[in-house]
Symmetry: D2
Subunit: 338 residues, 4 copies
């Protein structure tokens, strides 16, 4: 089996998830090094159990290792672009967690550096690789629903993040709905040209005080004429609720939520089945592995990665447009942003 | 529109159900008379509102009316055969509620009299006309599942009948599972050749004291080689539970229970939807009308009725075999019964 | 049983539906007269079979009959307000098919006349009485989902109307989405304060040439802070697709489409179940009867009707706002309309 | 983390499945050795990638290694008892794939040797650890359905095994339904006291010629008074179909099949979703890992293993009784077997 040697920068939650998934499910990848300046003892134990040969505090160790062909950037968001650029300059293909950056010029810079260096850049939109969403996408691509007329996405988290996080997150459109913007483009098979956003503070007033909304509905126009609508809430008490639907000239295709099991209880007072997963890592466990498999397969075969820098860029632009739309109370064209 | 003039004998629960359904949903039938020796004032009011011209205490009024072309027998069970025979002798087609009789010789007599009189005899196995069971049947008939290998039926009532009724009912196989014996033959498209019955008293000891069981599992062999299994319980706290499944060489087809609505609640502790109907009349409301429509259409077109005396006879024979099997603790061939 | 004597004006499709439902399912109503200037022989035969005593061409016969306590207005839309007003002036309670009128001043006039005459006015938003939507509403009202955050409605018809109809219909918001505007208010338990509408011609260019759109997505703000989104399409090849969802602080409740049966086929290439109903009359058959029952019960008990003239008015105002929003490409406040 | 060092005997399909699952998902187990006399080069490569230190052809290497505390027996069936006994004599806890043996005396011997040696013996009934079946079990154990009245199990394989395998398999009851016998006891929470079996050759005449049936329906009586029914087919064209249902005094609980995704297509001709998994390893992937986790947790905590030798024995006795019942055409008491 042909393999690729990779390094990981960042050993926080998502870095460990990638490290574990690659070890277990992506035999084509060999993790040689993982680096994080602030690694707890517990993290080191966890990574050692995965038998990663070099566990280090210095990202430079990853970037300068000539064996390492690709770097997986799992650093804090404000360093995503930085490490992407440095990895590109070191001639390494890059898998960068989303978002590349909240600042459009930094995103452009990262994309440009990868282009100049002739390396590939995949962005971590893991939901494209979820088995259910992917099946919806496949049905659309197979022409089952004909021309796409409408894309609908519900995306609700079980719990809001901390207020501290809300303050630095860039807002619900950058931090949460960005996944759905990417999903909308992915399912519609077309770029967004205009957005209109409504937002409200319905979950926690503290979110409003921090300058954000916690509930939002965004309508979209696509270049191919289709329309879209996305709703987000920071709190669904029944768990991680993520459903997509694509409606077209020949039918509709939609998915539902995974549940831990499909047992159903028929009782005197109702028919009861399980709730959605309460944490993202359980819901998307397979998706994280699948996006790494797709990444390595693209590298090995020399084909383009399935979610590239442009995809990362476009979602950020839509987030910017949605933010502007909500603030100004009017639809905003994507062309207004850049 | 060609119509047929009918009379109804018996104005108990099922007689009123047929009267109402025919009035509302079977324009091809005109009810001229309904007779019952013991009619309450409330019943008379109900029947008057249906605008039935003649409401009488004497079944003979129905039997002797030359305008009446068909008689619907809704009398107590022990008079089913009696009125069927008298109606046949009067030259009238007969719709007889199930069972024709518990005594096989009376069933034969009723069938023979109808044959001699050249009239048709339909038996009231309403479930054959239920929209869900019928869709399963249609799929089997359309060849979708290929050769039938297995028929599975669950049939559970919300509440046991009164002990007084249990004592005269002939037992669970005659009174309750008889519907499923007919359904099994209907779905399998083949006759039963052998049965094996297990029964138990799990719902109410008084049922056992009355000489019956309240829970039963019966396995069947069909002439075409397929097998079947039926389970019955006198009490499902969640309502009227009736599901069928047919498995074959090219697939399986099954149905579920109707519910009053399909709303689903996603809550913190589970996903909750409605329970089954709690009363038979709600669950099978459409089936009672459909069986009358099928009856009148057969009469008007001169084609055979869809559930005839032989069908009624065969279910009773299977009930007899199941009763014998449970008592003797061994499989019983249908050929042992007659 | 206390009953109310009613007359029906208009014996087109909806007039006949009401006549039949009342006859079969609403024993508290006695239809004395039905009037329509242009009644076919077939219609007369149909109405006679329902045993309606007086079938006439002159609506005045209904309006002037002192026995008639309530009038059901099923005339062409442009005469709804006219007959409502005349019935009110004749001292009769009114059930008026939706919309009361497309012209706001006429709607006001009709409402005012009913108020002046001291008669009740119910508007024919039948979907409020659909068993599934009603179960969703009941769950919301029972507090199961806590505070309402979001209302989502999908509403798609199997086939577009004729172009001739499109030209006079007032457009998709007045003709089709008006049902959903009412449903949104009903489910949210709050009035709409602002709307934003996107529309597109994706089904048939001829609809665009006739000045309308055939696909639309409308987002709503409610007075209670909640948001809403409605999508409409003139053509869903799989049938009449109508689903609602309400999301709140304690959960979500949603419904699905009814199907003719619930049989499921497990085959080599997939698991297949039935499609939605292909015609509205099948999907909402129970709702039409239920709204008449609710009407007569309100009249008999002297309580307010469940969907009044204000409800009719408000949906039309929202439709006007949505039309304006789509044309002007900006969100429109309800307060801008009047 | 406390860990246990294990060895695996047998590197066929199931041996490799356990080796892989333990490596990925059971950090409390360290596989030191795996032995198989007939290991392909491909198998060796596969095992090396799992970083198992010693890969050998001699099971004795496993049995004699004093570091190894527990042995996982994945040998051909006729050596299960042999290696179980030798491992027990070597003082090692044993996880033995099902069935321990087809010969009851060998099963007893294995159990006795483990008892004498003071080691634990877990039998590989993986389905007890399936997330769906387990959720059904948990609901029953939690008292949700009250007293168990009925256990229903459908278990159908996508494809029959080879005729060569059929000839040595011991028959459908030993080879296939044995899983369901164990599941029935597990769900009922009670021992089987009597069985009645019907079998037929409906899938492939060659199976009949080999002396077996390919379709079977078995009814069961449990010591607690409940009844059970199991149906098996060697071929379900739509995939691996395994559903369980438990019905009781307070309700029923049932599960369905997992599917690769939950996308649903609404098309003109029907509503289509995915089929069941086509291979067991996909359907039960989580169950195999979960049973090893349960095994190691029992060993580490010194508590009894969740499926012991008695459980293995009892399923084989039920298989013997079912075989006898089918051959003799009568119900067979479990007490007749031993």
């Amino acid at each position: 089996m042909k393999t690729i040697t990779v390094g990981i920068i960042g050993a926080g939650r998502i870095g460990k998830v990638h490290a574990e998934n690659i070890t277990k499910f992506v035999p084509e990848m060999e993790i040689k090094r993982i680096a994080d300046p602030y690694m707890s003892e517990e993290t080191v134990v966890f990574l050692r159990r995965l038998r990663i040969p070099y566990i280090t505090n210095d990202p430079e160790d990853v970037l300068s290792d000539p064996d390492i062909q690709a770097v997986i950037v799992c650093s804090p968001t404000d360093l995503h672009a930085e490490y992407t650029i440095r990895a590109a300059r070191a001639g390494k293909d890059v898998f960068c967690e989303k978002p590349i950056d909240y600042r459009l010029e930094r995103v452009h810079e990262a994309i440009d550096e990868c282009r100049k260096a002739g390396v590939q850049l995949q962005v971590g939109f893991d939901r494209r690789f979820d088995h259910n969403h992917r099946a919806v996408y496949d049905a659309v691509q197979a022409g089952k629903i004909g021309d796409v007329n409408l894309v609908k996405i519900s995306s609700r988290d079980p719990e809001p993040p901390t207020i501290a996080y809300v303050k630095v997150s860039g807002g619900i459109f950058y931090d949460m709905m960005i996944h759905d913007f990417d999903m909308a483009r992915f399912l519609a098979g077309s770029d967004v040209t205009e957005v209109f956003a409504y937002g409200a503070v319905l979950v926690d007033p503290a979110i409003g005080e921090a300058g954000d909304v916690d509930t939002a509905v965004v309508t979209l126009k696509f270049a191919n004429g289709a329309m879209g609508v996305i709703d987000n809430s920071r709190r669904a008490v029944y768990g991680y609720d993520q459903r997509v639907e694509v409606f077209g000239s020949k039918g509709a295709v939609m998915d539902g939520n995974d549940t831990p099991d499909n047992a159903v209880f028929y009782g005197e007072d109702g028919t009861v089945s399980g709730t959605c997963y309460k944490v993202m890592w359980d819901r998307y466990t397979g998706a994280f592995a699948a996006e790494q498999r797709a990444f390595v397969q693209a590298l090995l075969s020399g084909s383009p990665v399935p979610v590239n820098g442009e995809d990362g860029l476009k979602s950020i632009i839509i987030a910017a447009a949605a933010t502007k739309s909500m603030r100004e109370g009017r639809p905003v064209k994507i062309s207004e942003i850049e």
